[in-house]
């Protein structure tokens, strides 16, 4: 069965399932990834992220389904397909008794980097990942951040078209995280990058597309913007007022505004009151509210428009298992 109808997609998962004994780790998962895309796999622990990454990297075969890498069946022609893959496992483990440059040269040979350009190639990747100064050091003696960089460098060897990064920033300090994210963005310009994470802000910072996965199933996929707009056509506005005596006045004022829903109030220490309500996304009543409150001499101390983060979307989708309007 030749499938030459493949679109421009570099990676294609076709109805992939994976069982560990009786446990269904992946259940009929299909998706496509194009060059120049950075796709984030998002899911709670045990959702099937690492299983997806491992299948994609050719570590083990799925129980059912097919994986195509640039139109090549990964499990029928594994060696050919794996040439286009670079893989960084979760908590990457490398030979502790090898030196950084020695290890990278070894991997370069395994990945068919031609002998002539091998040294330059390895040095280039070391420079890209900031490893030039530690080339002679034993991997086992490196700090975790540096080991992670060695892991990324080995994934980049052979200039693969597809990069698979399983939790690339876990266990790193904030500075290293920022550096690695910047590196991933650079790499994603001409390649297909798939990264898994459970850190939600990372996805909106780095990825052009998000695939949300839970209990082995994809339950949402799209750009961050698409997901946001699907979830909610409403926004939340909070108004903070100083002085309990103004409670009724504020409520009356807000109730008078058009389109307001789900108004609620929260008392805070120091005589402060929070009024929170929802309103259609297109509306921005903040200026109007300020004006009204000033006219009525109600001391308005703060006004906030809360945009829903990916985190809210994710939690909602997890609870409901589908796109839905936020319940009010």
């Amino acid at each position: 069965m030749k499938k030459k109808t493949v679109s421009s997609s570099v990676v294609r998962f076709e109805h992939v399932s994976k069982k560990y004994g009786s446990v269904r780790a992946l259940d009929d998962v299909s998706f496509e990834i194009n060059a120049g895309e950075i796709v984030g796999f998002l899911g709670p622990n045990g959702a099937g992220k690492t299983t997806t990454m491992r299948i994609l990297a050719g570590f083990f075969a799925p129980s059912r389904g097919k994986v195509w890498i640039r139109g090549i069946d990964l499990f029928r022609h594994p060696q050919k397909a794996k040439r286009s893959l670079g893989y960084l496992p979760e908590a990457v483990r490398l030979y502790p008794d090898m030196r950084v440059a020695e290890f990278l040269r070894y991997v370069a040979r395994l990945k068919d980097v031609p002998r002539k350009s091998r040294n330059i190639h390895v040095q280039g990747k070391m420079a890209l990942c900031g490893l030039t100064d530690v080339g002679h050091r034993l991997i086992g003696r490196l700090s975790k951040g540096y080991r992670q960089r060695v892991g990324i460098a080995q994934a980049l060897l052979g200039d693969p078209d597809v990069l698979i990064l399983d939790e690339p920033t876990s266990g790193l300090d904030p500075k290293q995280i920022a550096e690695i994210r910047a590196l991933i963005r650079t790499l994603g310009k001409e390649r297909a990058v798939i990264l898994s994470t459970h850190i939600l802000p990372e996805v909106s910072m780095v990825c052009s597309r998000v695939v949300m996965i839970n209990q082995g199933k994809i339950f949402a996929s799209g750009t961050v913007k698409e997901l946001e707009s699907c979830l909610k056509d409403r926004q939340e506005i909070s108004v903070r007022v100083k002085g309990r005596v103004y409670r009724q006045g504020a409520i009356d004022l807000l109730k008078g505004l058009p389109g307001i829903e789900a108004l609620r109030m929260r008392e805070e220490p120091g005589e402060e009151l929070w009024f929170i309500f929802e309103i259609a996304r297109e509306e921005d009543p903040r200026a109007q509210i300020t004006q009204l409150f000033v006219q009525q001499n109600i001391p308005l101390v703060e006004i906030q428009r809360v945009k829903l983060t990916l985190e809210d979307i994710f939690l909602h989708l997890l609870q409901e298992g589908r796109f839905a309007r936020r319940p009010s």
């Binding site: 083990f60 075969a61 040439r83 893989y87 496992p89 483990r93 490398l94 090898m98 990945k111």
Partner: protein
Amino acid sequence: MKKIFVIAQKEFSSCFHSWLGVLVGTLFFILTGVFFMILVLSYAKISMNPQQFGLSSLAGVNQTQFVFGSFFTNCSLLVLFFVPLLTMRSFAEEQRQETLELLFTYPLSDFEIVAGKHLGLVWFFELLLLPLLGYLAVFHWLGGEFDWGPVLSGFLGFWLLGLAYLAVGVFISSLTRSPVVSALGTLSVLLIFWIFDWVETISDGPWARVFAALSPLKHFRDFTMGILDVQNVVYFAFFFLYFLFLALASIETRNWKH
């Protein structure tokens, strides 16, 4: 296929990254040296006064057979204990450190991985054989005379035995993530094969013949006596390929278990 050598090189050099390889090499060198010296000295003693040892004359004692035949038999016991130490790291250590995961995602076949790992160990084993050639030189220098035939066939047999034992070790190593379990498991299997050799001495039924036919030592003994039999070579080739195949099957199981 080129990549078998890449992996073998890495395996071979990692034998020297830890003290284990160096220790095994040194110990093997010292012990074989001691065996050789004792055998040469005892031959010298017998040749001085054969009557004292119940021999009418020295004519019946073959110098080559006395020294080298016994020497290779002793060495075969040594490798029984050294092979588990050499092979315990090959897969078990990688599974413990979880470094295999990356190896499986490179453009390599499982066969290249298994064969490469095995070849690296074979190179190391061959390195251990080198000092034995030195003993030959020493023996010659002492004025000893030997037939090249039995000595060379002894070397060949010892090399085949080592390859076969290493294949057992690599297979057992692929079954576990603990190097200690791998070493003990390999030792047990090799000891069981060793015992096969004894069955014929206590019984001569059809089963005894089966065990004897399966015993590596029985096939090895022919080589030490200077008998080159194709049957024995074929036996070792099958033994070797069988365990190589088992190791290959064992690492392929990752596709359906976990």
